[in-house]
């Protein structure tokens, strides 16, 4: 049958593409269905202002698993990453912190705030890399299920326990602290200066609806030390051509294995036959059938939207509604006529090439969180900025630049409801620019175009429920065997024939590819039985 497949993938995000590539590589007949005119989901490059290519949503690459890059031969398909080496943090008092690959320069920069911290910093980096090395296998395999009585599961769990608990008391205790403490408390055990703690701690809050002082934010710090580019640890990078080129490379690889990829093919619903998913119905009414339907969209949209609550057992619907989405961030993309000039460090030095983190202090960031807790965007938000055009001239016209600003906090649920974002969008954009202008006053004069994405827009345009960039909060009760619902963390779902392959499954969000690849492995293993 012309419209019958081994697998249908709903959504053309990078995880679904990865899953499709692996399945196609194994000889399966697969089709990827993307609602928009381009693939990538939140991993897209979009020319919203002529000549300027925005990495509209996701903007840095680091966690994309190296084995996936190899398996899918991505460099051949245009995947190329430029490492980001500097992290620049200006402070309101005119000082700044600059951390980069030069250990001595970094030491001197930290020493202006604390000599002790400057000495401890490299030790911290080594300890974190070791911690990262110990737990890294967890993100490269399906999570063990502690509720299972299968001896293989118990064995796997014991193996994991030994990995974490068998390295001696000091490491075990470090793992537990890392997993449960707040970023500020965790870092305060090592460092004393707020000017170092605040910019380091922010990596713990990115994409989550928690503050720097909220328990459970420390472990995301570890992600920074687990990132790999070309096999080297703790690096973030920019994809040449914008993050969309990562998705395009995966798509190209998938096509080379025979996968079919259709854009402007929005799925209206999953086609059910009894309690079994047998295909999908497109928005234009077309029906496609397959032995497996694999969803690359988030759990809420998949089950409560595409499958429909009436097809779910009672308990499952409740569990899915409990699964927290909770968008907390927004994005502002700028087309610039010229580079920003920071008052504390004028000129266009290396500090502009890396990550620019506006994290002026712990209290300031906590206040930003407090605003969001009670239903408003942060009046003084946290900003994480990159200027990709400095490293990659292909994304802007000569002499011009694009700036990508990740903004937190922007709660999906404003006090007057999420639709109030339609009225608040520009005020939100203004708050972001005002905050940046405190440090780089010329910014207001060099903006050619401004593109503001609120959580509401992330939901409407990119299909992320509540604008959550990770398809569900990465909080402890939503990780590993509990993600997305307890007992269904192995990419299969309680709906027969339906699988999950994206960030809503283990190991979660970011441009990692792991959920997609692990889902494909699970599908193939099941098929082989």
């Amino acid at each position: 049958m012309a419209n019958s497949y081994d697998a249908i993938l709903i959504g053309g995000g990078h995880n679904a593409l990865t899953c499709a590539a692996y399945l196609a590589k194994a000889g399966q007949r697969v089709v990827v269905l993307e609602r928009r005119h381009l693939v990538g989901g939140a991993t897209v490059t979009e020319e919203i202002h002529p000549g300027f290519k925005y990495s509209a949503c996701s903007y840095v690459v680091s966690l994309l698993r190296p084995w996936i890059v190899r398996d899918l031969d991505l460099p051949k398909h245009g995947y190329q990453v430029i490492p980001l080496e500097e992290t620049f943090t200006p402070f309101p008092d005119g000082r700044y912190l600059l951390r980069d690959a030069d250990a001595e320069r970094t030491r001197r920069s930290i020493a202006q705030f604390s000599k002790r911290d400057a000495e401890v910093y490299p030790m911290f980096g080594r300890a974190m890399s070791e911690l990262g090395r110990q737990v890294k296998p967890i993100i490269d395999q399906a999570p063990p299920d502690p509720t299972s009585f299968d001896p293989r599961e118990i064995f796997k769990l014991a193996g994991l326990g030994r990995r974490i608990g068998g390295q001696g008391e000091t490491w075990t205790s470090a793992h537990i602290k890392m997993l449960t403490m707040s970023a500020v408390d965790f870092l305060s055990e090592w460092f004393e200066s707020e000017q170092l703690i605040a910019p380091m701690a922010v990596s713990g809050i990115i994409g989550t609806f928690l503050g720097l002082r909220s328990p459970g934010t420390a472990y995301v710090l570890l992600h920074h030390y687990m990132g790999e580019i070309d096999g080297s640890f703790r690096e973030w990078g920019l994809a040449v051509g914008g993050t969309g080129s990562v998705a395009n490379a995966i798509a190209s690889s998938a096509r080379s294995f025979g996968a079919e990829i259709r854009t402007e093919a929005g799925v209206d619903r999953v086609l059910m036959q009894g309690d079994r998913a047998v295909g999908v119905v497109l928005e234009n009414g077309e029906e496609l059938r397959a032995s497996r339907v694999i969803s690359g969209v988030d759990p809420h949209r998949t089950f409560l939207g595409l499958v429909g609550e009436h097809h779910l057992e009672d308990g499952l619907a409740t569990q899915l509604k409990r699964f927290k989405m909770r968008g907390s961030s927004g994005k502002v993309n700028l087309a610039l006529d010229a580079l920003p000039e920071f008052t504390c460090l004028p000129g266009h030095g290396r500090h502009l090439y890396g990550d620019i983190t506006l994290a002026p202090g712990i209290d300031a960031l906590e206040r930003a969180y407090d605003d969001a807790k009670y239903g408003a965007f942060s009046r003084r938000p946290f900003l994480d900025i990159v200027i990709p055009s400095l490293n990659d001239p292909t994304v802007a016209p000569p002499g011009k630049h694009v700036m990508s600003i990740f903004v937190q906090y922007a709660p999906y649920k404003l006090a007057n409801g999420p639709q109030d974002w339609e009225n608040q969008r520009e005020a939100f954009g203004d708050a972001v620019i005002d905050e940046l202008a405190r440090y780089a006053p010329n910014i207001k004069d060099v903006i050619l175009h401004r593109h503001v994405l609120t959580p509401w827009d992330l939901e409407k345009t990119y299909g992320l429920t509540e604008g959550n960039i990770f398809h569900g909060e990465l909080s402890l009760e939503q990780l590993a065997f509990l993600r997305p619902v307890p007992g269904w963390s192995r990419y299969r779902t309680p709906v027969r024939g339906l699988w999950m392959c994206a960030s809503g499954s283990h190991p979660g969000g970011g441009i990692m590819g792991a959920p997609g690849a692990l889902c494909a492995q699970a599908v193939l293993k099941q098929g082989a039985r």
């Binding site: 502690p146 509720t147 326990g161 030994r162 608990g165 068998g166 001696g168 008391e169 000091t170 075990t172 205790s173 537990i176 602290k177 449960t180 403490m181 408390d185 305060s188 055990e189 928690l210 002082r213 909220s214 328990p215 459970g216 409990r322 927290k324 209290d363 906590e366 407090d370 807790k373 009670y374 909080s475 402890l476 009760e477 509990l482 307890p486 007992g487």
Partner: protein, 511 residues
């Protein structure tokens, strides 16, 4: 006179440990810095003629097994026949009345949700208590015996059945707000239920890890002691006397002495040396290990792991003497013994927490209110009442430092909060006493003014409490044991840290 073991601190855990050791045939002396034994459970006259039966006021966590084992009933300890209901106070309306069995004053949907929520607590209680009532599980999994211990606990967890097991693992790291919001629609109910999850912590209801505190508190709660904390101390002291335990009050210990890496004894503030091969310290672990212990006795990493224990006090105590009853709005003439005022919603409770992040006390603090005179009228002159309040959140360090002006402002904020729910209270106040965390530190010797001797947070519980090297009551110094709230299962009136430490001492040294 020589002793087999010395106990530092005459709080309820110190006395439990002392008594248990004495019953095992040891000669024991207890050293208490304050003029009276009991620590936070000691009776206190805060104004002539007006007393509270302890600074803590909830005794429902006291383990009846310990009471039986120590024969405290023979010394007058009895449990109350029925637990007092808790009034969940709102700024408007009569609020809700909570008891372990049901809730009144909320929607039918919430009433049935409450029954279901309590039923879940009931189903997991046995397992949770077994965790709280045994020494923490081992951290090191390299030996067979520790693997066996872990496996046994794993099996016990599995015996809950798949659904409850998963639910317990899911809930433990959650924030209390999410957990409660999943079940209830009434914010008054949520706000009141959440308070024990965040009290004495540096967490608000939206902080992950607060749910486990509530879960532990709910699972531990049983029957209250007649006469409150002070009655427990009375019984413990009587039993100690019978067993020949020497209790020396007004005798601060200034040094824990060692010789050749082993415990040699203690030195008191008067310069007196008392020798013994074992010292069990019920004061907080930081004070014990970093201040009282002679310097350079600990490996550096152990010292560091104790230095980072978080002991940020966030609770103040306020006592009121009233010349008439405490009457809540819309409930005039009804005697309410317990009330929780958390602003009527989780968000209000969260706002109360926000203040401590910025080194301020909450201007609308959350109050845990008790009227002990309703049970024991002898605490005040006839017809008068005393009100004992634990107020959250109040930081140990306020901007500008604590002084009388700040202290009075805190007292006024607490009274205002109470008066919003009980308007007549203002006119009935005879006296008011305020203890900030700084006062609590100075008076009771609590590092950071922390009532629990260290925050109950996910990384400071079980085998992490207070630090991995001394989580099993032993310390790296031979003969030095920890037996207070800083050890598993933690703070509050349970008697468990004292009892488990004594057991460890007896087993470790032959009985």
């Amino acid at each position: 006179m020589s002793f087999d073991a010395l106990v530092i601190g005459g709080g309820h855990n110190g006395l439990v440990a002392a008594l248990k050791l004495a019953r095992a045939g040891r000669r024991i002396a207890v050293f208490e810095a304050r003029g009276v034994a009991g620590g936070l459970c000691a009776r206190r006259e805060f104004h002539p003629g007006y007393r509270v039966p302890g600074l803590w006021h909830d005794t429902a966590g006291l383990r009846s097994k310990i009471v039986d084992e120590l024969g405290l009933a023979a010394h007058g300890l009895t449990f109350r026949a029925a637990e007092p209901s808790v009034l969940a106070v709102t700024d408007a309306g009569p609020g809700a009345l909570l008891s372990p069995d049901d809730v009144a004053g909320v929607s039918a949907r919430d009433a049935s949700a409450y029954a279901e929520w309590r039923a879940f607590i009931g189903r997991v209680r046995g397992f949770v208590r077994s965790v709280l009532d045994s020494p923490p599980p081992p951290m090191d999994v390299s030996s067979l015996s520790s693997l066996w211990q872990l496996a046994r606990r794993g099996l016990a967890l599995r015996r809950l059945g798949r659904d409850d097991m998963i639910e317990l693992m899911r809930v433990a790291p959650m924030c209390v707000a999410d957990w409660l919001n999943e079940s209830f629609e009434s914010q008054v109910l949520c706000g009141a239920l959440a308070l024990p999850g965040v009290q004495s912590t540096f967490m608000g209801p939206w902080s992950p890890g607060s749910a486990i505190n509530l879960l532990f508190a709910e699972c531990a709660a049983d029957r209250s002691v007649t006469g409150g904390p002070a009655a427990l101390i009375d019984a413990l002291l009587a039993a100690c006397e019978e067993r020949g335990v020497v209790v020396r009050t007004g005798t601060p210990v200034t040094r824990i002495r060692t010789a050749n890496g082993c415990i040699a004894g203690i030195t008191t503030a008067d310069g007196e040396d008392v020798d013994a091969p074992i010292v069990a310290a019920s004061c907080d672990p930081k004070r014990t290990m970093l201040e009282l212990l002679a310097p350079c006795q600990l490996p550096l990493e152990v010292e560091e792991s104790l230095r980072v224990v978080r002991t940020r006090g966030t609770t103040a105590a306020i006592h009121l003497a009233l010349d008439g009853p405490l009457e809540f709005r819309d409930r005039e003439g009804v005697a309410i013994e317990c009330a929780r005022i958390s602003g009527g919603s989780l968000d209000e409770l969260e706002r109360a927490f926000d203040a401590v992040k910025y080194r301020r006390f909450s201007e609308r603090p959350a109050l845990d209110v008790r009227v002990p005179t309703l049970e024991d009228p002898s605490l005040a002159p006839e017809g008068h009442q005393v009100v004992s309040i634990l107020a959250s959140f109040v930081p140990r360090e306020v901007d500008g430092g604590w002084d009388d002006t700040q202290r009075e402002a805190l007292g006024a904020a607490v009274v205002e909060r109470l008066a919003a729910a009980a308007p007549s209270v203002r006119d009935r106040i005879v006296a008011r006493a305020v203890w900030t965390p700084e006062d609590l530190e100075a008076d009771y010797g609590l590092t950071g003014g922390h009532l629990q001797h260290g925050e109950h947070a996910l990384d400071q519980l079980l085998f992490m409490r207070p630090a991995p090297s001394c989580a099993h009551y032993r310390t790296p110094v031979k003969g030095l044991f920890l037996c207070g709230s800083g050890s598993h299962p933690g703070g509050g009136i349970t008697g468990q840290p004292g009892a488990l430490a004594a057991k460890e001492i007896v087993v470790g040294h032959g009985s």
